[in-house]
């Protein structure tokens, strides 16, 4: 056995250092563990400050002893490589381990051990833990807002059928694959709108909106049969004309009657709320902001100066203002801009505002993709005799959109996270409902549980979306 230098652990005395080091490390972790789980302080006889730091010091010395390179033990080597490369890293690793051990018991006891799950009144929540009873009692409101309990099957039915219809893409055979884009861009949103219009609203709420949607869908479907050189003029003129015709020449009252299904009550949008409203708003804004954004992205890259300036102005305006002021505008300023007898539902106004706002961000993301394409792609398409629209639809956009999947996913994530802001126009989705429930005199003092619950829901949604977008990105990655 050679001489031991404790400042410089070496491989010659491997066993000595290993035993000593792991013992010290183990002691330090044990001390913190006992302290936090069983409230036993084995160094309690020391002065407070010393007793506080002693696990750190002991653990540090222990890690210092076992920091031996090429020891021959696989576990030790990987431990050293991963958490124990030098003194600084050792201290940080120890601190993180201690923080995790310290934080586990209070969190566990708040979430589970001391929490109350049973019962349906406030009385059961006397413990120090979370009061999940509160969530249980209010769950219905958090999910559906003020929507009448007896009618909630309508929301459930719509969401379940839309989820089923949305998953068509997975089961489509090779033969139908080429129609999927058409299905998802035109038909599916239209079906979704019908569901929300007939089942969730049960009548006249979305009315002005529905003119717009019908006009847009009809003109898009007809647009496929228009020769490409006229497409631009077609899309500039027809949708708006169609809208005006529908609005002023089709009789309003008759359409209202048409919109009512027998036996379904009309539920006004003020009563909608909770998580289902979050989904409805995100869904519609997602559908609208994408084509609008795409149009302005193309507009910004256009050769025609006036169209370019208008697009730049639009994009920069919406990107420059906070969403909350946009919603303010839709709530207090926008009604002033409409004819006196012309009323647009506030949910529709909010959807329009959020869609335009997010469209500007989508436009910038898509523009990034368009710029990243090499010029050869444009030139090749043109030399094949393709016109502007053919070139963009079949050559440019498929490649550009593939490139910007992460960016678009981020924008959609931002959209979902922005939906709580609709409290500005007086609509209460889940966060708004939480704030309402919090002020209920019978259930005061459970703000924390509510926010934690909503945070978990949002986190799951957003995390799933970001993972899904990552998968999409991997799937569509093409070597260039």
């Amino acid at each position: 056995m050679s001489k031991i230098n404790f400042l410089r652990p070496d491989i010659e005395n491997l066993n000595t250092f290993l035993y000593l080091g792991s013992f010290l490390f183990f002691i330090s972790v044990l001390d913190v563990f006992l302290n936090s789980f069983f409230n036993v302080n084995i160094t309690g006889f020391l002065p407070t400050l010393l007793s506080f730091f002693i696990p750190l010091v002991i653990g540090f010395i222990g890690l210092h002893f076992i920091r031996i390179e090429h020891s021959g033990y696989k576990f030790l080597d990987s431990l050293n490589k991963n958490i124990n490369t030098n003194s600084f890293n050792a201290v940080l690793s120890l601190l993180i381990i201690f923080v995790i051990i310290k934080a586990t018991p209070p969190i566990l006891s708040w979430f589970f051990v001391d929490a109350s799950f049973a019962g349906d009144s406030k009385d059961v929540c006397s413990g120090s833990g979370a009061c999940w009873t509160y969530i249980k009692v209010w769950l219905n409101r958090f999910m559906y807002g003020m929507y009448p309990n007896a009618e909630q099957w309508r929301i459930n039915l719509s969401f379940v059928s839309l989820a089923l219809l949305g998953s068509v893409g997975y089961f489509a055979t090779e033969k139908f694959k080429k129609y999927l884009t058409l299905y998802y861009v035109v038909i599916y949103p239209f079906i979704a709108f019908l569901f929300i219009f007939f089942f969730i609203s049960g009548g006249p709420v979305f009315f002005d909106f529905s003119y717009g949607i019908i006009a847009a869908v009809i003109s898009i479907i007809l647009g496929f049969f228009i020769p490409s050189r006229f497409k631009f003029y077609y899309f500039l003129i027809v949708p708006l004309t169609l809208y005006i015709v529908l609005k002023y020449f089709v009789f309003y009252e008759e359409l209202i009657e048409l919109g009512k299904l027998d036996g379904l009550n009309w539920v006004e949008t003020g009563a909608w709320g909770g998580l289902s409203l979050t989904f409805i708003i995100s869904f519609f804004c997602l559908i609208f902001c994408f084509p609008i954004g795409m149009a302005f992205a193309l507009g910004r890259r256009s050769d025609l100066p006036l169209i370019r300036y208008i697009s730049v102005g639009f994009i920069e305006f919406w990107r420059g203002v906070p969403l909350i002021t946009v919603l303010f505008m839709s709530a207090v300023m926008f009604p002033m801009f409409l004819p006196e007898d012309f009323f647009i539902d506030k949910l529709v106004r909010a959807i329009i505002a959020i869609s335009l706002f997010e469209a500007a961000y989508v436009a910038e993301v898509i523009r990034g993709g368009l710029q990243a394409l090499p010029r050869g792609q444009y030139e090749a398409a043109k030399s094949l005799g393709m016109g502007y629209w053919k070139m963009h639809i079949f050559v440019i956009l498929p490649q550009a959109l593939k490139l910007v999947i992460p960016g678009i996913a981020n924008t959609f994530l931002a959209l979902v996270k922005d939906t709580p802001l609709i409290f500005v126009v007086g609509l209460l989705e889940i966060v708004g409902m939480l704030n309402l429930a919090k002020t209920n005199p019978e259930w005061l003092g459970f703000a924390m549980e509510g926010y934690v619950f909503a945070a978990i829901i949002f986190w799951i949604i957003c995390y799933a979306m970001s993972k899904y977008s990552y998968n999409l990105e991997q799937k569509y990655k093409t070597e260039r």
């Binding site: 490369t85 025609l304 208008i310 906070p322 802001l421 945070a455």
Partner: protein, 383 residues
Amino acid sequence: MNLKLQKIVPQLITVLAVVLVFGFFSYNAQVNMENRGIDFGYGFLSQESSFDVQFSLIEYDGSHSYFRAYLVGLLNTILVSVIGIIIATILGIIVGVARLSPNYLINKFAAFYVEFFRNIPLLLQIFFWYFAALRALPLPQDADAMFGVFFLTIKGLYVPAFVWENFNVFFYSTVAAIIAIVVIRVHAKKVQETQGKQLPVLWISLGLILIFPLLSFLIGGVNLSFEIPKLKQLAVTSYRYEGGLNLPPELIALTLSLALYTATFIAECVRAGIQGVGKGQKEAAASIGLNPNQVLKLVVMPQALRIIIPPTTNQYLNLTKNSSLAAAIAYPDLVLVFAGTALMQTGKAIEIVSITMLTYLSLSISISILMNWYNKKIAIKEK
């Protein structure tokens, strides 16, 4: 001819459509305002506002004008944004670097932080801090002092106030020190370029920034004392701190959540920037004999910053815009004071919303112009 027509007609139609929409809107606005007896104009800005604001950086009460109220809101917005940006930058850089650490625990801890905070809506975080976390703080009379001078209570954080004498002398001496440092840096660069000698710029700068203000204390008559907040009983159960500076809980909740949220995005920018510098760059720098510090300072950082700064500025802008969420917890920022209270009182929806939007818009556009200029300046000049 046909080609020319093809270019002109779409533009004409688009412009016509835009003009029509705007004309339709402004016509309706005129009709509506006439019907309701509202007249359009910005004259109300000089009228007496007659409402109070809880927290203001400049002197303000109900007898001041609406314009003054606007300034109060704007300054509060800027205050939150600046504090938030500083904290978010520091936190973001730390987390971004930590995500690149070879230490497994640190790496995962940083990743957990980023994934956790950026997937929860900012508004929810603000509500959480304001309504749940900060409400759990002790009442003023029960608060423990941190370091004997800070008091964190349910009514906000009380910190000692600085009481200056001859503050302007101190200020000018600091400015003088900064100017001297800039001059010395320029000189040092010249010396290095002509003679190849390196001056110890860092030490000289540190000395200057310490000595100049110190001199102002010794001979300039500058004096600094602290006013420590003291607990005072107002009624039997009502206490409050007097003296010192009070940071209201709204401000704390808002800056905290803004900083924690934005830091996750900045961390990702920093990580991308550092990863974006090729390994070959570092090896090449080391092989021409630069020491690790020089490699970092002269080779890695300039290239990493080129990648980091544009998206980070974007995040700063986002933070500033997100600070408008203050309205949700009644922190008197621009939106709450001006687009909220002032709008309620005057009913001038179009004027007030347009001013508010223009303020944010000019803020964003000036920063993005600055950004474009900076981008052009640091872009790699290819021959």
